[in-house]
Symmetry: C2
Subunit: 376 residues, 2 copies
């Protein structure tokens, strides 16, 4: 079967939604944050640690897995779940964002047929099309595949964005046509930049194609926060209530709250693991940085009251030590904490929606989160 989304409840005062997604690899509640397993591994972590952190679904990158090890090897190993030993749901992106973000403009050529570009690894000439992206994702056998889109930077001209939106619609139709994995859902992606009418157009036309879910694309590409929140609103109002809404590449706690408030169900981002490897941890009082010597004799856990493996077993002094001597376990423990922090945040959010108090929850969280870090 493909995924089944059930809208359970909408918050009394906001557009925040409580839902449930059933997949062949288990059911999870939404809003949900997805840890990113770029190359079929959430950096430094084992699947059991993601489970323990409460991850309902994870993301893997089509572009990276296409290049290495190649989708045929993953398929030969029984698909992505078996390959990486993760028996929960997986969403694969389409590769469009990596082509946008990893490849320099002069090394790519976007045509109607697809994108010609040079590999970021060895400069080899590559050609990615909507059909190829879907074919790779079919073979990876993820639970949710994404349509291949162009993800323009911010800002581009109205004329460029209009042409890009129209092409992305044609690409979405081409991808949908060749999609042939009966156990895999296919999501459409809404583009349109900061242009209200293009967002409306992109959204309505994408919805007409009747995808299994929809994503708001083209955010986190250089725009400021108010613009990003506006982009979400401009797209989401035209999406059907009974389908999942996914905000791509967003994982800052504040942005998750802003997204949920506007009706987003799922999020993904490398942020929690990336900042972990650089020694930073989320706490309810803002981020703290273990490169800072102030933690070297601090016997408290990273965050008092946190139920993650890191906080239950290790002191800030130990984490500070590991980070300062560049030991891998430091990034690993902080990755566990940061992922648990975001998943726990979505748990708190779900409870708040359940109890019709999302707005006050958000306000309280932000007050605490944005309070002075000097408190620590």
């Amino acid at each position: 079967m493909k995924i089944q989304y059930t809208l359970l409840k909408t918050d009394k005062d906001t557009k925040a939604r409580l839902g449930k997604i059933k997949t062949n690899y288990g059911t999870f509640d939404t809003p949900m944050f997805m840890p990113v397993g770029t190359r079929a591994t959430v950096k430094s972590l084992a699947p059991e640690e993601l489970k323990e952190a409460g991850s309902g679904i994870i993301l893997a990158n089509t572009y990276h897995l296409w290049l290495r090890p190649g989708e045929d090897i993953v398929a030969k190993c029984g698909g992505l779940h078996k390959f990486m030993n993760w028996d929960g749901p997986i969403l694969t992106d389409c590769g469009g964002f990596q082509v946008f973000s990893l490849i320099k403009n002069k090394e790519k050529d976007i045509t109607e047929e697809g994108v010609y570009f040079k590999s970021h690894i060895d400069g080899a000439k590559l050609f990615l099309t909507p059909e190829k992206s879907i074919e790779i994702q079919n073979k990876l056998d993820s639970d949710i595949a994404m349509s291949f889109d162009e993800c323009p930077p911010y800002p581009v001209s109205y004329e460029y964005m209009k042409k890009s939106v129209e092409r992305t619609l044609r690409w979405a139709a081409r991808g949908k046509k060749v999609h042939n994995n009966p156990n895999q859902a296919l999501f459409g992606i809404v583009q349109g930049g900061e242009f209200k009418d293009l967002r409306e157009y992109s959204c309505k036309e994408t919805v007409k194609m009747d995808f299994d879910g929809y994503s708001i694309g083209g955010t986190s590409v250089g725009e400021d926060k108010p613009t990003m929140y506006q982009m979400i609103e401009d797209g989401i109002r035209y999406l059907p209530e009974d389908k999942v809404r996914y905000l791509m590449g967003v994982g800052d706690p504040i942005d998750i709250l802003e997204g949920v408030e506007r009706g987003i169900d799922i999020f993904d981002c490398v942020l929690p693991t990336r900042i972990a490897r650089h020694g930073q941890a989320f706490t309810h009082h803002g981020k703290i940085n273990f490169n800072n010597a102030q933690y070297k004799e601090d016997t408290r856990p990273v965050e008092e009251g946190c139920d993650c493996y890191c906080c239950k077993n290790y002191s800030r002094a130990y984490i500070r030590h590991l980070i300062s001597v560049d030991e891998m376990l430091g990034g690993r423990l902080l990755s566990i904490h940061n992922i648990r922090f975001l998943i726990h945040l979505t748990e708190e959010i779900r409870k708040a929606i359940e109890e019709d108090r999302f707005a006050s929850f958000k306000e309280q969280f932000l007050r605490e989160y944005q309070s002075s870090k000097s408190f620590f």
Copy 2:
């Protein structure tokens, strides 16, 4: 209490010994291999993974922990066990080997009082003495501390080695005098290089001081294997039967077998974790290297029949992928496998001694281990 060693049995045909060491943090059987947690972490691994691999005891480095985070911070955090969340036994080395191996000759000055040298991190001037080494280890609160010794390279002149041995004996006496942790055993270290009479002298004089256990030092410093095995024999024959014998810095499967055959009880080495990070795995048919493309479609586990977490859950193709894209999980999974391989080897050794068939076990293991790698 300090540790209690019980000699349970000696093999019928060899000097291989089966024993048991009781500590305040649990009891383990010998022969045993100790994973190395250089800076209070066995690189990339969590304590639970070491437990699951069967590790009865681990090692931590006094020199590294002295420099960062400093023994006072570890003490403030409740000692090394609590600091690193390892509730099993810990042995700390004395720092002598690091001064020997990390510091260039022109940047150290070995005097009667101790060793003046420059930090390998920032060039700061440091001074390590027998008293200081013991004081640091007392504060780290390991279960077994080592006497501070000089570890000369191979080869040095007879005259140099003789003076060095005599000084190391005086250092051992000075260290023993200041040792004052009632829960910590203190081991003496036998030196003497490849000189039979100096090994005998070093050994007999060290034993006279009545330590809680003894280590064969000065191996793995550049000598060939037959010389190393001879060094072990030349020292061990003068050690008391009722005390533990520790061979420092040795973890190659063949060397473990050769050491056990000569009466060694415990071993330590960074080898299993270091080669893991470089993509290599121990198997009963020799080492295999995942940088090699031949494994990229290999759906078998690293070693068929191995009971480690890596082999139970992942394919060679996945490990090869992780290693080839330099993902941390690759080194982590191979570290688990390699540590389990050595611990499992000591389990097999113990069973063989129990059943008076160590010599035939060793012969069979070596035949298989040294067989052609092309088999894979």
